[in-house]
Amino acid sequence: MTAHTTQRSRRAFFLQGGAVLGAGVASTVGAAALTPANAKAPDEHSKNLQQQLNDFANREAIRQLHLTFTSRLEHQAYEHLPDLFDEHAHVQLSGVAAAGKPAIARLFAEQYRNQQAPVMHGAYRPNALQQNDALTLNESGSHASATYHVDVQVNTPLQGDCTAAQMARLQGQMADCRWESGRLEASYVKTRGEWKIASLRYLPS
């Protein structure tokens, strides 16, 4: 997986994807009109452009997948998180781990939903190290890996089952909420044309 590594800012990584794609399409049109006689064979040129387009499409799909994950987690749509994972995926978020899609579903639907996990991630924000974010696609476009430098909201659930704790939980409250810097290491797999998260691991700085 060395063929197509990108290192640039998260903003560029995520937000300029569309612009880059646009530039690529534009250059395709331009290139077709102005191809000199000694240029590479049209087939090879088209192949390269097609590869670029595929890359852009894959990056956009992975971008959407990552945003969907962070958005659903932040909005506590826990029951809809497992859809984003591969059948054999594994996650490890501040020591709370699960392997396999059914276990990941239980992690979010039970441990997160009922605030039974000892520590829960509440939200992610790009941090000052985001320029070191990286996304790597393998040549066949079937696997990818990414690093996201983030600040993570680390929540410690309330203990006990007294009425006050029950009411606080209903308000989405935690015993302790703090922000911590670290990075998410993710890998992705494309199955039946759709990208899924194959692994997701959080590492504190």
Binding site: G160, D161, C162, A164, A165, A168, Q171, Q173, A175, D176
Partner: protein, 593 residues
């Protein structure tokens, strides 16, 4: 103080009828002609036409107020319908209330005749089931209707907007607010209803029904607070978990007046739909805990706490099994952890090991001999009984040489515990005996207070006549309790509303008041500034909480007694307090101020 009409059942004990949609439709039929009122309503809108445009997908309402009591309405350009209505003025504001004949819904409008701003409340019935089904689907669970479909419970949608008129549409809007938070007001309505209202949360309020229920209990209701100006507010509440009645009123803090409407079905399933005015007296303003600059305008959704719906009622046999075979006091001697309400428990007192004492309660109350085996285990027996029992205990010192300990009593059904305060400065003692069960639910608890003395080697000779006793000194006080460390930790605010009740407010992460509930509560005085307060979370969690509160240290030592499907537990309560303020309300509930 006027004559009080006490009711045999307080709101949380009334078995409100689970009416069908058809029954609600029938009950609401008289609303077609508009609200009643003791005094003439306003004609300010008679002959006028108003088009109200609302934001965020809300309705466009075109009104023709044909007379002072009859209107025509077209919703979103639809067919015109006729309805009776009522209107009240409050300075520049007009409050309008009407239902749509043949339906279970209608509108309350607050229109500002100067700014042309308007807030629209669509109020409807038979909407709970739909919400519950949607919530269950979102959470991937089965909908729950343990206490029925609650068709009688009013629901509301709120839209902010303006009245179309000459010139450009105003861009300002009424907003949600926290500017009412912390206030208490006594109201006397023009129909002689007296009520104490407390706005201690930005999502809830609590009130004491002086006229309708005698003023014994305070109850809580999910509420909305909307700011019109620095002195004009819209306040509304729904008596969820109870009758489901809807109340909306304009509150003017300059002249302390109100103009309101009440719509719902009372405990006899009779329609109450009337408008009223009232005169208020500010009873106090306590502290609020948001950071400065947080005005509550983006308050988030207003959730409803439904303890009656979620309370797990157990059978006799189920409770018996738990209290006999799954009873645990203080982790069976391993000590109460910092979980729940004990995160700030004080240092445990263990130096009674080897001591003996006898607590002797008055008037046939319990007389119990104790031998403290070590710092966590004691032996006890009723005086005259040769049989000593062993029990786990924990002891704390909430004030100098004032000790408070607790342990389980005999393994019988129903099962009791003893929470014992002994004062080594004067020989006085108070025992709160907690027992499982109430006439309503087996897995609730009941406290019984006993006042008396104790005898122990080295302890002073107790007085003959003086005793700890009941007090109303706590009435009106509001105290925050931080139970668990962390940010925000677990923090609630107690509001000691009358000598027999209190309410608690759970703070939201931004420091604003959130969900709120209430229960009966009782107060006794041990020393100046030191009190025992007991409460039972009736129709809620069933728990008995008993704390010894020291107002000098702003700390407590106490115990929780609870039975549920996870067993019977006796655990410690220890929290840090802040004084939030006090309401001057004694005179309204028949106490000397």
């Amino acid at each position: 103080m006027s004559t009080r009409n006490y009711k045999p059942l307080q709101m949380h004990r009334i078995p409100y009828t689970d009416l069908t949609e058809e029954q609600v439709t029938q009950a609401l039929r008289p609303t077609a002609s508009g609200p009643a009122s003791r005094y003439p309503l306003s004609n300010v809108l008679a002959g006028k036409r108003l088009k109200i445009v609302t934001d965020a997908g809300g309705p466009t309402l075109e009104y023709h107020f044909r007379t002072g009591r009859e209107l025509e309405l077209s919703e979103n350009g639809g067919k015109r319908v006729k309805a009776g209505y009522g209107a009240l003025e409050s300075r520049n504001l007009v409050l309008v209330s009407h239902m749509i004949p043949g339906t279970q819904r209608g509108y309350k409008l607050v229109v500002d005749q100067h700014s042309r701003l308007a807030t629209v409340f669509e109020v409807y019935f038979s909407g709970y089931a739909e919400q519950e089904i949607a919530a269950a689907k979102a959470a991937n669970r089965e909908p729950q209707f343990k206490n029925g479909r609650r068709n009688r419970e009013a629901q509301r949608r709120i839209w902010f907007g303006y009245v179309e008129g000459d010139g450009p549409a105003p861009t300002a809007r009424h907003t949600f607010t926290n500017r009412m938070e912390g206030k208490g007001i006594y109201w006397r309505q023009d129909n002689d209803i007296e009520i104490l209202e407390f706005y201690l949360s930005i999502l809830y309020s609590n009130f004491i029904e002086l006229t309708r229920f005698g003023g014994e209990m305070t109850v809580c209701a999910p509420s909305d607070y909307i700011m019109v100006s620095d002195h004009q507010f819209i306040y509304s509440r729904i008596e969820c978990e109870f009758s489901g009645t809807y109340t909306l009123q304009i509150v003017d803090l300059f002249d302390m007046t109100q103009a309101g409407v009440r719509l719902g079905l009372n405990e006899k399933d009779e329609l109450e739909y009337y408008m009223y005015t009232g005169q208020g007296e500010l009873t106090g303003q306590i502290a609020t805990f948001e950071v400065f600059g947080n005005n509550g305008e983006t308050r988030g959704p207003r959730r409803v706490y439904r303890p009656i719906e979620t309370f797990d009622v157990m059978t006799d046999d189920e409770v018996k099994e738990q209290v006999l075979n799954h009873a645990h006091a203080f982790g069976d001697g391993k000590g109460s952890g910092a979980a729940g309400m004990g995160g700030y428990k004080s240092e445990r007192i263990t130096h009674f090991a080897g001591k003996k004492l006898t607590v002797r309660m008055d008037n046939g109350g319990p007389v119990i001999d104790y031998e403290f085996v070590d710092g966590g285990k004691l032996k006890w027996r009723y005086e005259g009984d040769s049989h000593w029992r062993e029990a786990w205990y924990e002891m704390y010192e909430p004030d100098d040489k004032l000790y408070f300990f607790a342990h389980l009593l005999d393994a019988e059904f129903p099962r009791s515990c003893a929470m014992v305060a002994i004062d080594l400065k004067n020989g006085l003692s108070t025992v709160v005996k907690g027992t499982t069960g109430t006439p309503f639910r087996n897995n609730e608890t009941t406290p019984t207070y006993y006042f008396g003395v104790f005898e122990m080697e080295g302890a002073p000779t107790p007085p003959t006549y003086l005793r700890h006793g009941w007090t109303d000194e706590m009435v009106g006080e509001a105290v925050t309790w931080n139970y668990q460390p962390g940010n925000p930790g677990l923090t609630s605010m107690h509001f000691y509303a009358t000598p027999t009740t209190y309410s608690w407010i759970i703070f939201q992460p931004d420091g604003s008041g959130g969900m709120q509930w209430s229960s009966p509560g009782w107060y006794s005085k041990l020393r100046d500034g030191v009190y025992i307060m007991a409460w039972v979370e009736e129709a809620c969690n069933g728990t008995l909480g008993v704390i010894c509160f020291n107002k000098r240290t702003m700390h407590d030592a106490g115990f929780g007694y609870h039975v549920g499907r996870n067993g019977l537990s006796l655990s410690v309560v220890g929290a840090r307090a802040r004084h939030a303020g006090k309401f001057d309300i004694k005179k309204y509930i028949g106490l000397k101020g």
